[in-house]
Amino acid sequence: MTGSGQTGLKAKHQRLVLVVIALVAIIGAGLLAAYALRNEVNYFYLPNQMAANPPEVGQAVRLGGMVQEGSLETLQDGITVAFVVTDQENAVVNVRYSGILPDLFVEGSGVVADGRLGADGVFVADELLAKHDENYVPRELQELEQHKAAETLAATESY
């Protein structure tokens, strides 16, 4: 075999190495992503789902529902608030949150809380997402809002 033939073979070999590295990296990325997605996602719970089938204590999850009218109170330390989240099935979850309430956080309106269920059954929120503006409702809450609107309509019509 001539010298140039050998380098040709070598070049082909090296190209193969590159392709193999690329494939390994991309398959690795896919597997890693799939594994992480199974373990590192936050599941979304409505209050009735949380009551029926509570997540493990300490596991990061999302809770979404309506803030019950009249349930919001500020605790003694001045920075922690407690409120009750409810849904159309009238299941309730007690929530505690230390921090500044988001701008559009109002009683009777929707909220999504990122956090974990405590051993005492109180949901400790790390972050609250309220309606972002007039036009935007967290997607998880759209059905709830529609349901509530229908309920309000029914209530007013009966007068």
């Binding site: 070049a11 082909k12 090296q14 190209r15 190495v17 590159l18 590295i21 690329a22 990296a25 991309i26 690795g28 990325a29 896919g30 890693l32 992503a33 799939a34 992480a36 997605l37 590192e40 996602v41 936050n42 599941y43 979304f44 990061a60 999302r62 500020t74 330390d77 001045g78 920075i79 230390s98 921090g99 500044i100 309430l101 701008d103 559009l104 990122d114 972050e127 997402l129 972002h132 503006d133 007039e134 036009n135 935007y136 967290p138 997607r139 998880e140």
Partner: protein, 648 residues
């Protein structure tokens, strides 16, 4: 009258793009036919008309013409002028008009200036640009007409979402759109090259400035968007892995990969099909991002103007263009001959590694962003956040950054690691030393520790390509690379530092009391009501002193806008060279105490300074490339002139 002029200009522009498409398609048979000769002028005219339509929209917002539906829905006569203008693109219709305008202007510009490539390739490219543009014209004119009139003029406008009434946000969407849509040029070039099978270094050199330009705008847009989210949302974070943020990150990752592979193609005539593929993928990511943002299909903290019907339209366009381009790619890729070969240990090898890693990261972000959609099909609702993106992304980002520290030192085609032994050893030693130092100093998260170590090593490594060279003779483009790579190191240092050293304090204090966060002593001096042009607010007057130094005044507010009625939190920042104090005021606790949330974030500003450096590096590279290119063209022209002279 003005609105009708704008609408007419848009229809004309759309008609011209049909002409451009047909002309470009016929040009594939005969480059010199009359219709083919019309392709370039049609592209230029289309750009001018779309630009005119956008100016008309700006005018309508400037004079607050309330007979126009879009103005009435998004503006208010009380608004400051800058936000009246920003209102033009702070909504669905206006931003889609901006999209099509940028696209038409980019097409017009290539039609006007780009003369390097064979005319047939250019006509195919412009036809592709027109084909993509046509879909968006249809979308705009049929389902999102920005110039629609109201039957009766409104008495007063509804106002702009107060969160959007911010100087940073006024310039964030246009910047991002220049980036997003600028990538359409790379897409059209790729399709044009596939149609005419002309993939070579000339093609890469023609495409490169466009990719660079779009990438600079994307970098700036993402940097600005991150800073906006940081201070406007009042959550103290600078990146949330929100779908909308990911939508801007994905095209950036693809464009970064493209930028590097196009350099390989330009310099060494290798990675031909791969570069074409990236050109298609980059703009596909832009369109996917637009679809995700516009359809409201994903829960996002800033998914405004969600509309499923429009989402379906964009989804249709998405399938048509991405599917079409990939089909063309599948049909033609095998007929593009293999480029030059190279060894694994070479500049090309390092760049291929960079491309593979960037593609892997892109895949990870894409999967994480779409995963909630996938599970929703099975009626399981999930959200994917930092616990997924940070570690999984880091597995690929960290090796990529390590190779980035030494890759630019390697020679093209074939090199050996022994030649660059010392720079590798120095970088590795620096990295291990910093890692040991931070691990001893305190136990922060593994990612923060690694981030700090890699940032310092990369910071030093990024200047190594300059060693032993006359700095005045280093090409501008090389300076660009050095600055951009250093910018990545700076930004990474900021991110890792923010994650490792931030301190947070949540307190409820009465007027006159103070609290401590990191080295800062913060006193609540007073709480008072204040008023602005279209809002009133509760304002906390804080005195903040760093390490016992003189006190500076900070005034975080809780604002109430009245058009539309909405409350917003106005955080304040005290910036020092070594970090930022971040303060937010909350509600009254009920007993005269006020809630304060304070953060001390050491070196957090480096995140955005790093982003600006990266963009600056891109700009230097662009200037360098264009300069070399003009010189090359001049030399070629002179040689041609001389030949002509000699012949006569």
């Amino acid at each position: 009258m003005a609105a009708e002029l704008g609408l007419a200009a848009l229809w004309l522009a759309a008609a011209l793009s049909v002409l451009q498409l047909i002309g470009g398609a016929l040009a594939q048979r005969d480059t010199n036919s009359d219709l083919a000769k019309l392709v370039r002028p049609a592209a230029v005219m289309q750009g001018l008309l779309a630009g005119f339509a956008f100016l008309v929209l700006l005018y309508l917002f400037a004079v607050t013409d309330l007979s126009v539906k879009l103005v009435a829905a998004n503006s208010h006569s009380d608004k400051p002028m800058i936000f009246k203008l920003a209102g033009a693109w702070g909504n669905h219709e206006g931003s889609m008009l901006l999209w099509i305008t940028v696209m038409a202007l980019a097409g017009g510009l290539i039609g006007f200036v780009e003369r390097r490539l064979p005319e047939q390739t250019m006509q195919a490219t412009l036809a592709a640009q027109a084909f993509v543009g046509l879909g968006f014209y249809a979308f705009l004119l049929l389902s999102s007409n920005p110039f629609e009139r109201l039957p009766e003029p409104a008495m007063e406008g509804m106002g702009l979402n107060p969160l959007l009434q911010d100087i940073g946000l006024a310039f964030h969407p246009p910047t991002l759109y220049f980036g997003y849509v600028g990538l359409s040029v790379a897409f059209s070039f790729a399709v044009g090259a596939l149609l005419t099978r002309q993939v070579n270094p000339d093609f890469a050199r023609a495409m490169r400035p466009w990719v660079l330009g779009a990438w600079i705008f994307l970098t700036l847009g993402i940097t600005a968007g991150s800073y906006w989210a940081y201070y406007e949302l009042g959550w103290g974070g600078w990146w949330f892995w929100d779908p909308v943020e990911n939508a801007s990150l994905m095209p950036w990752l693809a464009a970064t990969a493209l930028l590097h592979s196009v350099s390989v193609l330009a310099a060494r005539d290798a990675l031909r099909t791969w570069t074409i593929m990236l050109g298609v993928v980059a703009f596909s990511m832009s369109m996917l991002g637009t679809f995700l943002v516009r359809s409201g299909i994903l829960t996002s903290v800033h998914a405004f103007a969600a509309d499923p019907e429009r989402g379906t339209f964009i989804l249709g366009l998405l399938i048509l263009y991405i599917g079409g381009a990939l089909l063309l790619f599948g049909l033609r890729a095998s007929s593009i001959s293999e480029g030059d070969r190279f060894s694994v240990t070479s500049r090309e090898g390092a760049l291929v590694f960079n491309n593979v890693m960037l593609s892997a990261i892109l895949g990870i972000v894409l999967l994480g962003t779409l995963y909630p959609l996938l599970t929703e099909a099975f009626d399981v609702r999930v959200s994917v956040g930092p616990p997924y993106f940070n570690p999984v992304g880091a597995v690929f980002t960290i090796p990529m950054l390590m190779v980035m520290a030494v890759g630019p030192l390697l020679r093209w085609r074939q090199d050996s690691f022994t030649r660059v032994k010392w720079p590798i050893i120095i970088s590795a030693v620096v990295m291990v030393a910093v890692l040991a130092l931070v691990v001893i100093l305190g136990s922060y998260s593994i990612l923060a520790d690694l981030g700090l170590a890699v940032a310092v090593a990369l910071g030093i490594g990024s200047f190594m390509p300059l060693r032993g060279r006359n700095l005045l003779r280093v090409p501008i483009a090389t300076w660009g690379m050095v600055v951009a790579h250093f910018g990545i190191a700076v930004a990474l240092f900021g991110m890792a530092s923010e994650s490792a050293f931030s301190e947070e304090k949540l307190a409820a204090i009465s007027v006159g009391e103070s609290t401590q966060v990191g080295p800062w002593q913060v006193t609540l001096d007073a709480v008072e009501p204040v008023a602005g042009p279209n809002w009133t607010a509760i304002q906390a007057n804080l005195g903040a002193s760093y390490d016992g130094g003189t006190s500076i005044e900070l005034t975080p507010q809780s604002r109430n806008f009245w058009a539309p009625p909405q409350e917003t939190t106005e955080s304040v920042l005290a910036t020092r060279w070594n970090g930022q104090l971040y303060a937010v005021v909350g509600n009254e606790a009920g007993d005269g105490r006020w809630q304060l949330r304070l953060w001390w974030k050491p070196f957090v500003t480096l995140i955005w300074y790093g982003g600006i450096l990266v963009a600056l590096g891109g700009l230097l590279a662009l200037i360098g490339r264009v300069k070399t290119d003009l010189k090359r063209r001049y030399v070629v022209k002179r040689a041609g002139d001389r030949r002509a002279e000699a012949a006569s």
